[in-house]
Every structure is written in structure tokens, then in C-alpha cells.
């Protein structure tokens, strides 16, 4: 009897634990540095591991040493800094229709969102206590702290809405600060390079970490610096034709020769008219 009861408890526990696995997968934890945790809806908090399915309503938490990258089925990704709490509030994506929407709430911490199909349609939103941050075709860094929400536009159009109105961030590397839901959104202008570098460095592994996947020692990436032919992705340093002045000069000179010049030589001296042998008397 006792063993049967023990078996039942174990079975129920197993079913409860397995319940989140039946929820629809919306993404995958593609890199995890300890300690990061997740809590599926109705499940228990457990350390997050590489390859773990991320489901609708899942909570993700990083400790002071933890960083995570989540990849979603619409190809968007999130790189999450230490001491961050997020919840995947809503996620609907139909790959056949390429449509849906996602809503992620950021309670505290920082993340960089790199856009996918949903954000290309303006259907990705990050919410904080101070604002709703709509992302169109873009990439954005959002930091939520005691002073409010800071938004740094990496690329695309970021539409920030709170109780005081709407603010559009349309320029890369520019930012806005929202101190509270009823506080006017503040234009921060260009974000200093050092601050951008700081947030970049805090949303990935530090030297010595491996994101939960050891053994990646490098690969021959066919990029700009290598080989004699530069790759497709290489940015080209701006180039301007150096013959524009010569082209202008050539046109002026051509027209001068054609029209401005005294094109005609002095009229040749006409030979005297030939008179008939009989002179004027004929």
C-alpha cells in the first residue's frame, strides 16, 4: 500500500513536471551561462540548460553571473544580461503566414533583442513598468532599473508608448529614458560609445565562459579580412569617383570647341571667275 502510494505521488509529480513539455515551444535556449533559471507555466523553477524549450508564459531569470541567449521560432533572439527577469507573456507565430505577435515583459535587468519576422512587421513588443516598447524591423537594447527604463535603438524604428504619449526612436545608437509610466519620455540623444560597449559586453559570455557548449575553438569564416576577395558582408569604405571634375571640364571644353570657338577659318580667297575665251563680247 505504502509503495503504491509512493508510486502515485511519483507519477503525479512526473506528470506535473512534464506538463510544460506539452506546451507549444516558442523558442530554444541556445546559450546559457550559469546560473540562469527558468520557470515554465505551472512548473517549478529549474536551472536553464542549452537546448531547453522555451514555452509561452515562461519566466527566465539570470543570477549575477548568468547570461542567456534565447532564439525564437520567428528567428528573433534575445541576449539577456545578468540579474534579469523576463516573462514571455505572449507569443504567436505562424511560419506559413509569417504572422503573429510577441510580447515580453522585462521586470528588471537588461536585454538586447535582435529582430526576426515578427518585429519586421512591427509585431514585437517589450513591456516594462514604465513603457511599452514596440519594435519594427529592428534591434534594441532595453535596460530596466530603479531609475526607470532606458531604450537604445540599435537599428530600425522603436515606438515607445507610456501614459504621457508616444516617442519614436528612429536613429541608430540614439536612446530614450522613461522614468515612469506617467513621466515624459526623455530623448537622450546619442548614447556614448562606452555605454554601448558596456551593454554589449554584458549580454554575452565573459572570457573563459562557454555558454554551455564547450569545444568551439573557431572556424574559417570567409569574411572581409581574409583572402583576396572580400565577402558579401564586407562594408566598403565610402568611395567617390575622382573624375567628376574632369567630366565637367570635358563637357565645357567640348561645347566650347563645338560652339564657342571661331570654328570657321578665314574664307579661302575665291579664284577669279573664269571668263569665256571670247570675253564679254560673246
Amino acid at each position: 500500500m505504502r509503495s503504491s502510494r509512493r508510486f502515485t505521488v511519483a507519477l503525479v509529480s512526473a506528470l506535473l513536471a512534464a506538463a510544460p513539455a506539452f506546451a507549444q515551444q516558442v523558442g530554444t535556449a541556445t546559450a546559457v551561462n550559469p546560473l540562469s533559471e527558468s520557470t515554465p507555466p505551472g512548473g517549478t523553477t529549474a536551472p536553464l540548460v542549452v537546448g531547453a524549450h522555451i514555452v509561452h508564459k515562461e519566466k527566465v531569470h539570470t543570477t549575477p553571473a548568468g547570461t542567456v541567449q534565447l532564439l525564437f521560432t520567428d528567428k528573433s533572439s534575445m541576449s539577456i544580461a545578468p540579474n534579469t527577469d523576463i516573462v514571455i507573456d505572449e507569443y504567436v507565430y505562424d511560419p506559413n503566414a509569417n504572422s503573429g505577435h510577441m510580447l515580453v515583459s522585462l521586470t528588471t535587468g537588461a536585454l538586447r533583442f535582435v529582430g526576426g519576422q515578427l518585429s519586421h512587421q512591427g509585431e514585437a513588443t517589450i513591456t516594462t513598468s514604465a513603457a511599452n516598447i514596440g519594435i519594427r524591423g529592428g534591434t534594441v537594447t532595453v535596460i530596466q532599473g530603479p531609475g526607470g527604463t532606458k531604450v537604445i535603438n540599435v537599428a530600425g524604428i522603436i515606438k515607445i508608448v507610456n501614459g504621457t504619449g508616444t516617442f519614436l526612436l528612429t536613429r541608430s545608437d540614439f536612446g530614450a529614458l522613461i522614468q515612469g509610466w506617467n513621466t515624459v519620455i526623455q530623448d537622450l540623444g546619442r548614447i556614448p560609445t562606452a555605454e554601448v560597449a558596456y551593454h554589449q559586453a554584458h549580454t554575452t559570455s565573459t572570457l573563459g565562459e562557454d555558454g554551455g557548449v564547450p569545444g568551439f575553438t573557431g572556424a574559417n569564416i570567409g569574411h572581409c579580412g581574409l583572402g583576396s576577395v572580400q565577402g558579401t558582408n564586407c562594408p566598403q569604405v565610402p568611395w567617390m569617383p575622382s573624375d567628376n571634375g574632369a567630366l565637367d571640364a570635358s563637357q565645357i571644353l567640348g561645347n566650347a570647341t563645338n560652339f564657342g570657338a571661331a570654328q570657321i577659318t578665314a574664307p579661302a580667297i575665291a579664284p577669279p571667275p573664269r571668263l569665256p575665251p571670247c570675253g564679254t563680247r560673246c
Binding site: 528573433s76 570635358s250 564657342g260
Partner: protein, 405 residues
């Protein structure tokens, strides 16, 4: 769904699959490549090549500060190769210029040019339909010259969300012939105006710019031409392609000279509409192009015209020595069609002239030292006209040091 992407979702630890996905990501899907390289950076943050690639991708997105952050961190990695160092340093220097409120770019060039037809005129002894002969002073003859040229672009960024700027540019060219000084020519052109960014919640990269333009030219070492006018241009970014449609009106004033006593007849208003476009073609092959329609009124009606023109430059960057230093090979081509208003009675009283002009060229810039290049250019130009005096062809070769900044 892309099987490689499905593979990442199912088995993210298979980094070979992820790497393949990132390298095969289409150039229009920069963000997918960023997500995947950032995944790989999680697995090994000490790889300079991954950091460099991320810098490249953010650069292409227009986030120069993120790009700079990745390039700068690549420079601190132990596995950095000399070629990667050079490319990273070049791109950091370029980004640092872009992040300044006052940005200067341009070129200065000097050198020698040889032309088979320095006059850009018809063959000597060309008979005119009017029964007279073309003045041999302006007939086709070879000559060489020394020339100097520069182009300077200035942008003041007001550091505003809408991207408002003030822009100015200057282009100058001066050539002194060795023998045929009637063709010594100098040209200087200035353009300046404010650019207003247009903020929209659906599109980025839109702006308009009103501007003024002033041009002056000397011919045979005497003041010959002045132009003053203005225009309006817009900028539209479609992915990596930049479009600049424009319209412009210039009041042209030509001055009669002893050798060019009929020049003032060309004075009048020049109205132009055009489109400039630039962007990548494939890999490191880019393009710059310009198509225009121009209508010129002239004091002497036969000198007025309607003209259509198109030019394209195809700069191809490559590094034949594998040291990260960039050589640029630039094929160019252009075509113009002029239809003049009326016959010129002194040349051919019965034929209204038209001219079809072809221009072909091949330029090569070889890096010599830091910003200094050796620039070489071979060009062929041919004018075909229904009036023999306007037909000509010219082949020219140009060589000299060029500094780009």
C-alpha cells in the same frame, strides 16, 4: 522553415550547423546572421573573427557604435591576424569619422594625362556643310597635360533624432596643357545646403535637401564660365541602396574670349532632373550611377539643347596581396544624347545637330602608403553626330598619386 535554422532550434550545441546557417544567411537577413554569430560568441568569446564578423554586420545595419564595440574588442583578442587587424583598424577609423559632428571626406589627386584629341574636336581639315573649313586651332591633336583635382565633402551632424545635417561639397579640376594652351581649363563647383530628416514610424532613411550650386570655369587661362543656381534633392534608402533624385536650375553665363568669340551665345538657363543611386552589387562590387535629363536655353537659339545622359561606376574592392589593403578597380561607362534646338548657320544651315556620345573607362587605385594611392585611368570617348564638325573621338590615359580621406 530553413532546415539549418530548424537544426539550431533542435540542437543549438551543433555549432557547425549554426556556423553554416550564419555564413549562408542572405545579405538581406542581417539580423539572423547577428543572432547566430552572437550565439557562437557565447560559446567562445575569445575569437577575433567572430567579433569582427559581428562588427561587420552591425556596421551594415547602421549601428556604428555596436560595430565599433565589436571591432575594438576584436583587436584585443590573441588570435587576431594582421589582415584582420588592418581591416578592423580601417573600419574603426571610418566609424570614428561617422560619429563626429563635423565629418570631412574626399580626395586630392595630381598627375599627368595624355590625350589623342586634347581639343575634343573633329579631324583637321573637316569640311563644313556651309562650304567652309573647320578652324584647325580646334581640331583633333594629341597633347599631354598636368592636372590637379580634388573633391571635398563636409557634413555637420546636428546630432538630432531626425538626422538633420548641413552638407557642403566642392569639386575642383585644373589642367595645364603642354603645347595646346587654348585648352587649358579649370573648373570649380560648390554645393551646399541643409538636409532635413523625415521621421516616420514605418520607414527610416528619408530626407530632403534644398541646396545652392555655384560653378566657375576658366578656359585658355581666362575667366570663361559662371553658373549660379539651386536645387532640391531627396534621399531614400532601400536596404543598402541609396537613391538621390534631384532637380536643379542653374543660370549659365559664358564669356566671349578672343579664341572663343561666340561663347556668350550659350548663356542661358540649364534645368536638370536626375537620379543618383549607389549601393552594393555583389560581394565587394558596388555601383554608383547617375541619369539626367537637361534642358538648356541659350541666348543664341541653335546652341540650346535637350540632353539625356547616364553614367555608371562599378568600384570593385579586392586585396590581391591578402594583407587587407584594398585595391579598387573601377570600370565606368556613360552615354549622352544631345538634341540641339536649330541648325547653326555657320556650320550647317540645313541640319539641326544631334550628338550621341559614348564614354568608357577603366580606373585602378593601388594603395601605396596609408591614405595615398596610385590612381590610373584609361578612358575612351566618342561623339557621333549628324554634323561632321561635332564628331570626334579621344583616348586618354591618366596617372598620378591620389590621397583619399
Amino acid at each position: 522553415m530553413n532546415p539549418l535554422f530548424q537544426g539550431i532550434l533542435a540542437q543549438p550545441a551543433n555549432f557547425n550547423n549554426a556556423l553554416q546557417y550564419a555564413t549562408l544567411a542572405p545579405s538581406s537577413d542581417i539580423e539572423s546572421a547577428i543572432s547566430t554569430y552572437e550565439q557562437l560568441l557565447f560559446y567562445n568569446p575569445s575569437l577575433a573573427s567572430v567579433r569582427f564578423e559581428l562588427g561587420v554586420l552591425y556596421y551594415r545595419l547602421g549601428s556604428y557604435e555596436m560595430a565599433r564595440s565589436y571591432f575594438a574588442s576584436a583587436l584585443t583578442m590573441k588570435d587576431l591576424t594582421p589582415a584582420l587587424r588592418r581591416r578592423s583598424e580601417d573600419l574603426i577609423a571610418d566609424i570614428d569619422k561617422k560619429l563626429q559632428p563635423d565629418q570631412f571626406s574626399g580626395y586630392v589627386q595630381s598627375g599627368f594625362r595624355y590625350q589623342t584629341n586634347a581639343a575634343l574636336g573633329p579631324a583637321a581639315g573637316t569640311a563644313l556643310a556651309s562650304g567652309k573649313l573647320f578652324n584647325n586651332t580646334f581640331a583633333a591633336r594629341p597633347d599631354g597635360n598636368w592636372f590637379g583635382a580634388f573633391g571635398l565633402n563636409y557634413v555637420h551632424d546636428f546630432e538630432q533624432q531626425n538626422g538633420n545635417t548641413f552638407e557642403a561639397s566642392a569639386v575642383g579640376y585644373d589642367a595645364q596643357q603642354f603645347k595646346l594652351h587654348q585648352f587649358d581649363i579649370g573648373v570649380m563647383e560648390l554645393r551646399a545646403g541643409p538636409r532635413f530628416g523625415i521621421i516616420s514610424d514605418t520607414v527610416t532613411g528619408l530626407s530632403i535637401k534644398p541646396y545652392f550650386v555655384a560653378t566657375g570655369a576658366t578656359l585658355a587661362d581666362a575667366a570663361y564660365y559662371g553658373g549660379l543656381g539651386g536645387g532640391l534633392t531627396a534621399r531614400i534608402k532601400l536596404g543598402d541602396v541609396v537613391l538621390d533624385p534631384y532637380t536643379e536650375i542653374v543660370q549659365q553665363s559664358f564669356r566671349n574670349l578672343t579664341l572663343y568669340p561666340l561663347a556668350s551665345g550659350m548663356s542661358g538657363t540649364l534645368s536638370t532632373v536626375g537620379l543618383q543611386a549607389s549601393g552594393p552589387v555583389y560581394a565587394s562590387l558596388g555601383f554608383q550611377s547617375r541619369v539626367t535629363y537637361a534642358h538648356a536655353d541659350a541666348n543664341f537659339n541653335p546652341f540650346g539643347y535637350n540632353a539625356y545622359a547616364g553614367d555608371i561606376w562599378l568600384p570593385w574592392n579586392f586585396s590581391p596581396l591578402g594583407d587587407g589593403r584594398t585595391w579598387t578597380l573601377t570600370p565606368t561607362a556613360g552615354v549622352s544624347w544631345w538634341q540641339y534646338n536649330a541648325p547653326d548657320p555657320t556650320i550647317d544651315p540645313n541640319t539641326t545637330p544631334n550628338i550621341l556620345e559614348w564614354r568608357l573607362g577603366l580606373g585602378l587605385e593601388v594603395p601605396i602608403w596609408k591614405l595615398v594611392y596610385l590612381g590610373m585611368l584609361a578612358q575612351y570617348r566618342a561623339d557621333v553626330s549628324n554634323v561632321s564638325a561635332f564628331s570626334m573621338h579621344d583616348f586618354s590615359v591618366t596617372a598620378g598619386p591620389t590621397m583619399r580621406f
